[in-house]
């Protein structure tokens, strides 16, 4: 029973990594990264936990009352807020990737047919935007339209 919080930590960390490794969508990938991150909160708070103890706030209980470790709470609280803004930064990258490549798949597979680019709502085709770098268009057409996940990253000329 005393191993349960640590088992939860390992589970969250590994299942998040599994999501990242097998992800087919960048937004899903950012969410998986948040799952990995949340495993650190579980670990921190369970390291500092103490049975039958109160929060380390001595406003209405006298100093000396059994309390949990305040250091790990301080570490977790700043990271929750900072982690949210870092997730926003990654999502902004995903927005730009979708604008340029019309796909959110990290392997480069085209999105579902008829999917429109957010910034060009009039085009109904899943073809890439015209402002794509030439190496990307070449790499896409060489795949014969099949989604390939093994392609080595194309070198810019």
């Amino acid at each position: 029973m005393s191993l349960l919080p640590y088992a939860v930590t390992v589970w969250l960390f590994v299942i998040g990594l599994y999501g990242i490794a097998t992800s087919r969508n960048l937004i899903h990938m950012v969410t998986c990264l948040s799952v990995v991150q949340s495993s650190t909160y579980v670990l921190l708070l369970s390291v500092g936990f103490r049975r039958n103890a109160t929060a380390p706030i001595f406003l209405d209980v006298p100093v000396g009352t059994r309390a949990v470790d305040p250091v790990v709470s301080a570490l977790a609280l700043t990271d929750v807020v900072v982690g949210a803004t870092v997730a926003a930064l990654l999502l902004a990258l995903a927005v730009q990737v979708h604008k340029r490549l019309v796909t959110l798949d990290p392997g480069g597979a085209p999105g579902p047919a008829g999917l429109t680019c957010v910034s060009c709502p009039r085009s109904r085709s899943p073809s890439p935007c015209s402002s794509l770098p030439p190496w990307w268009a070449a790499a896409r057409s060489s795949g014969g339209g099949q989604p390939t996940r093994s392609r080595s990253p194309p070198q810019p000329p």
């Binding site: 990594l17 301080a74 935007c129």
Partner: protein
């Protein structure tokens, strides 16, 4: 490597990693039996030394103040980075913020959401200010209160339209709040140096534990962080809304 092979390679590696990690963590003290000295020392001395009844806040904004400044600048950098990434690209232009995309109009906001959103706006803002101001006394502080304050802007968007949000939320003021929050933290730190002490030295009178004005510089740092976090989150919200509602690819004239 096909997706199937990729998955199997990952699963084998992850199984080994999970076993090692669990083995390592099981060497920690059993759950619920905290033994470390630091938490106990801080719980014993923080109220007497810093007159802050919230020991977590004393750790965040005083004992660990320099670390928190670093964290605050990570937040600042992430918000600025998002704003830069989401600015109008060369082939885009800003258009009238219309709530409808061609062929996909959003249903109008119901009166229930409108009324409830506006009714909650005042209490939410008040609660946010309360959480920021009492950070050194009770659970809360600049980080939590800042996020609560930023939800006020979200309520305005939910109960009105994007145009309303732009009207009540001056962009310059939000930018100024974010920068003032980030700079304020550093200024409070430098004041310690100027007074002849260390960086982030708690130099103001400490007062009585439990009083609203107590714990020296802690309430000021809380205020700076609250401004920074609230400004940052509202800025993120506006950037993402602008992305979907205002920016359009420049159409080539046929």
């Amino acid at each position: 490597m096909s997706p199937g092979t990729r998955r199997w390679v990952f699963l084998v590696a992850a199984a080994g990693f999970a076993a090692l990690m669990l083995w390592g963590l099981s060497g920690l003290p059993p759950f619920g039996e905290y033994r470390g000295p630091y938490g106990d020392v801080l719980n014993a001395v923080a109220v007497g030394e810093r007159r802050a009844t919230n020991v977590v806040a004393a750790v965040t904004f005083d004992y660990r103040g320099v670390d928190t400044m670093g964290e605050e600048f990570i937040l600042f950098a992430a918000v600025i980075g998002t704003a830069i990434l989401l600015r109008a690209q060369r082939d885009e232009e800003e258009q009238d913020p219309s709530e409808t995309v061609e062929g996909r109009s959003a249903p109008p906001t119901s009166s229930a959401v409108r009324v409830l959103g506006l009714a909650l706006l005042g209490p939410i803002v008040l609660f946010g200010i309360y959480v920021v101001a009492h950070g050194h006394l009770s659970p809360g502080g600049g980080f939590q209160g800042g996020v609560v304050l930023a939800t006020g802007a979200l309520l305005v968007f939910l109960s009105g339209e994007y145009v309303t949000l732009r009207r009540v939320e001056p962009a310059d003021l939000i930018d100024a709040a974010e920068s003032a929050g980030a700079a304020g933290y550093v200024v409070i730190g430098l004041a310690g140096l100027l007074a002849g002490g260390a960086f982030l030295d708690n130099l103001l009178p400490l007062g009585e534990p439990g009083a609203l004005v107590s714990a020296g510089t802690m309430p000021l740092i809380n205020l700076a962080v609250g401004l920074e976090v609230a400004g940052g989150f509202v800025l993120l919200l506006t950037e993402f809304l602008e992305q979907t509602l205002v920016l359009r690819r420049r159409t080539v004239a046929a």
